[in-house]
């Protein structure tokens, strides 16, 4: 109860500070709109159908990109954990690519795929896949040798050892990998949508900027943060809490 109070308190406090800063009247509303104006814009955007359509568009892209990247990333991560040759081939490469912000791929993606969905899908996948793969590989490497030895002395080996011991043992690490991947995918998507206009929440922000409608920009930002929070806490948080409870991790 008090934890919830603290969380709500921090948000309310921030809103109050924000409104106070606006009330000072030092900045015009097209530079710093107040929380009320942003809320109004969000309501207006929702009733007019602009925001829901943008959310659906963005989430659709995300579902495809994130889905592809995480399944590919999990497969590649397991392959790297299992086969030393695959690890040697991709390990350093992916680690190197990690330091490259995903949006740097945008010019190439536009050139290769043109101004279309494929380009943005490419950027989302390339931002997410390596992150997930590396985190899953580390989870596989982190499986205690003791568990493997115990399983082998009980007659497990080969594929069955992997299915019955290694994969379940990497579950907590895989959830962390998916969580990381989610935030990478989300960021890549927003950057992509902001830069190259094709519907979605990024475009709402882009249009808001063109019209000097900062309330609209901030309303979109609010929606993005809320969506991220909901997925991270509700979906992944639920799976993670369940695993932690079962494993007795605290």
């Amino acid at each position: 109860m008090s934890a919830r109070l603290e969380r709500a308190g921090a948000i309310v406090g921030l809103l109050v500070l924000w409104q106070l800063a606006v009330s000072l009247g030092r900045w015009p509303s097209y530079v710093l709109p107040g929380p009320i104006a942003v809320l109004e814009s969000a309501i207006e955007g929702t009733t007019s159908g602009v925001l829901p359509a943008a959310v659906l568009k963005s989430l659709g892209r995300l579902a495809l990109g994130y889905g592809l990247a995480s399944s590919g990333g999990i497969a590649l991560g397991i392959a790297m954990g299992r086969v030393p040759a695959v690890e040697r081939a991709f390990g350093t490469l992916l680690t190197g690519l990690q330091s490259l912000p995903s949006i740097c791929w945008m010019p190439l993606a536009l050139l290769w795929f043109g101004l279309n969905e494929k380009a943005i899908l490419f950027v989302v996948v390339i931002a997410t896949l390596g992150t997930v793969a590396l985190a899953v590989r580390d989870a596989v490497f982190g499986v205690p040798r003791l568990w493997l030895r115990a399983a082998r002395s009980m007659g497990e080996r080969g594929l069955s050892l992997w299915l019955r011991v290694v994969l379940p043992a990497t579950l907590p690490g895989t959830i962390t990998a998916l969580r990381l991947g989610w935030s990478f995918a989300w960021r890549a998507l927003m950057a992509g949508e902001l830069l190259f206009v094709a519907g979605g929440l990024g475009q709402v922000m882009h249009v808001g900027r063109e019209l000097n409608d900062m309330a609209r920009v901030m309303a979109a930002m609010l929606v993005i943060a809320a969506l991220g929070l909901v997925f991270d806490n509700v979906v992944l948080g639920f799976v993670e809490a369940r695993t932690r409870r079962r494993w007795g991790l605290t």
């Binding site: 003791l146 002395s153 007659g155 379940p168």
Partner: protein, 279 residues
Amino acid sequence: MDIALKNVEKSFTGRDGKHTALANVTLEIPSGAFVCLLGPSGCGKTTVLNLVAGFETPDQGEVLVDGHRVDGPGPDRVVMFQDPALFPWLSVGENVAFPLQKRKLSPAERGERVDEALRVVHLYKFKHAQPHELSGGMRARAAIARALVMEPRIMLMDEPFAALDAQTRELLQVEIERVWQRTKATVVFVTHDNREAVRLATRVVVMGTRPGCVKLEVDVDQDLPRPRDPLDRNVNLLVTRVQRTLQAEIEKIAREESDERQTPPSRRGRGEPDLGRDI
């Protein structure tokens, strides 16, 4: 099943170079024996166990089980570690059932065997609990149950009770003795507790260090009634004998280590304080 080590040599390469864990170790363990391996740390007793388990291969010599060269781990030789190594994603019952998956058993038979093993170690009530909900002693018992369902003919135990308190350890010693008498399995039990060794073993093997080797093999009088009375005169005599051999080994290590320390570090003591050197 009987176990034989013939002129086994094994060394490991560590940071400070190669070190010989076992040098020319020959050991014969007859079928149905309960052999306790005793010795100071670093004498290679765990290495002996890992060789028999098939986790390691010898550099020289042979490790034979029932006359066949050991080639990797297998379900005929179940291993118990100091950590019970239960899988946290499975319940206690599922953990105990884990090794049965490979056997051709009907679900009913499988369930019966799991229940029976859990009853033997008094954990039936905790069948649906998760491992982390059990105490350390209960987890060790769950590991014993998991070993039991496999009906192994060899049980290899690497200080399985070392992390437990004295009372729990005593209870589990009784438990493991019962299991051994029931299954007539061959047991190799690594410990550093000489009372535990004499209390359980049909034969105590004391190992020495640098390099690891067999120092003393004592057969424990089989007429001593089980469970053995720790106050019995014969038991105590044996404990003392084992203790002396161990003591000599431990003193040898201490002497060697102090010799190494006395070698003066070069260019030291010019009158300047030696502070902060290690930082």
